[in-house]
């Protein structure tokens, strides 16, 4: 192998990559916040005392857990505008697909976390006259979220990586920008290496922090 590495050509286009990175962070932030919020609602609905809330939530979770995110993104981008009378941006389509998928997965995390709490906690809340909703908000969720933190962090990391799927419908994320740079300069090796390194540099410290957090939680229990 006598390949000559030339990162200079990527460096020249750093502004484009930076824009891509900002867009990646933007779609991540949207998907993380809406995905986990919707996931919490779905998890609660699935654990609700009301049957008419339980089964739609179960359907939602199973549907979006068992279909590929890329298919969902394509569907929202290419199929949805044919059925509905309005255009949908690449950001919107990608964010929808990733959000719904993340909601389905995090709903299971929330449900598991909620169910892991000792039923005695529910009884203690009921015994002092608290309502179901008050017990959930003040007694169960604060304890459950503490237990779920590692799992939710993992979900966040998954979402961050999933955002690259948006490049498939030409959303200008960091991967899309790298592909442009590669096609202009014929330097795919350098361009994609930089993208991989960028992801690693951002995510690895977060993963390390999760380990520390996990260990501290284990001690706290």
């Amino acid at each position: 192998m006598d390949y000559v590495w030339d990162f200079g050509s990527v460096w020249e286009y750093r502004a484009a990559l930076w824009t891509g990175l900002i867009n990646t962070v933007r779609i991540f932030a949207i998907c993380f916040v809406t995905g986990l919020s919707l996931g919490l609602m779905m998890g609660l609905a699935r654990y609700s005392v009301r049957r008419w809330l339980r089964w739609p939530a179960a359907c939602f979770i199973e549907f979006f857990r068992n279909t590929p995110v890329l298919v969902q993104i394509f569907w929202f981008y290419f199929a949805f505008p044919i059925l509905a009378p309005f255009e949908i941006s690449a950001l919107m389509a990608a964010a929808l697909g990733i959000t719904l998928n993340s909601a389905a997965f995090s709903a299971e995390i929330f449900r598991g976390g909620i169910q892991s709490i000792d039923p005695g906690q529910w009884e203690a809340g009921r015994a002092i006259g608290m309502r179901h909703r008050e017990i959930m908000a003040r007694i169960i969720l604060p304890q459950a979220v503490r237990r779920m933190l590692p799992a939710l962090t993992n979900r966040g990391i998954e979402i961050f990586k999933m955002t690259t799927l948006a490049s498939a419908i030409a959303y200008a994320d960091v991967l899309h920008q790298a592909r442009l740079i590669a096609s202009v300069n014929y330097n795919p090796i350098e361009a994609y290496t930089v993208v991989a390194i960028a992801f690693f540099v951002i995510l690895y410290p977060i993963v390390r922090a999760t380990y520390v957090l996990e260990r501290r939680m284990a001690k706290g229990d």
């Binding site: 009884e123 015994a127 002092i128 006259g129 309502r131 304890q143």
Partner: protein
Amino acid sequence: MSENPILTIRDLHKSFGDNHVLRGIDLDVKQGDCIAILGASGSGKSTFLRCLNFMETPSDGEITHAGKTIGTVRAGKPRHYPEAELTKVRQKVGMVFQQFNLFPHMTVLGNVIEGLRIVQGMDKASAQTRAHDELARVGLAEKANEYPSRLSGGQKQRVAIARALALAPDLMLFDEPTSALDPELVGEVLNVIRGIADEGRTMLLVTHEVGFAYHVANRVIFMADGVIQEEGPPEQVLKNPQNPRTQAFLARHKQFEF
């Protein structure tokens, strides 16, 4: 003082699937009563107690609290117990659990003020004052800012008692409050319960502490097979039981006394 009972229980039944645990219980609980409920495990005594603040939903029968029969009758269906009605009753019927069930993410003070703040909407300062009084009553005022994980089992149970008392209930239910405790910690909890009984508070207590029942209760109930087998003053039920089941139960409990 009126002789109207605080609690009237009529033909109370509870089934879990095919398991008919309570088979028709009638009882009047009067102001100032301290009723000890004895019985072997599986006799239904805990289930009975748990029906009284609706931790378990009765399958049949009526519970009347302070003159008001709880729940609404629906034609052809089991009695319906709306949450709003139960939350009101539960504030008046305090419960202490075998496993304490303190909220581990709140301080001792936080545990005691939770019901006052969230359920009764009391302002923070008043709730804290009330909570401190209740903690002082159970001898734990200085632990107010500790988390439950730092307390002994006996201390946890005393906090649980303070948490229930804070809401000023007119009836207290104790579900085997000392069964989860190391033997050397049983005394401190029983002393607190005795203090509460001596104040004239109305209470029902499921217990295995026959001696405590004898000294503190004014009425003793012996349960077996989901019904009350024998009921009366402790002197009568514990010293001179008439029912052969009661006699056998007490003989087992006194086997190793010296």
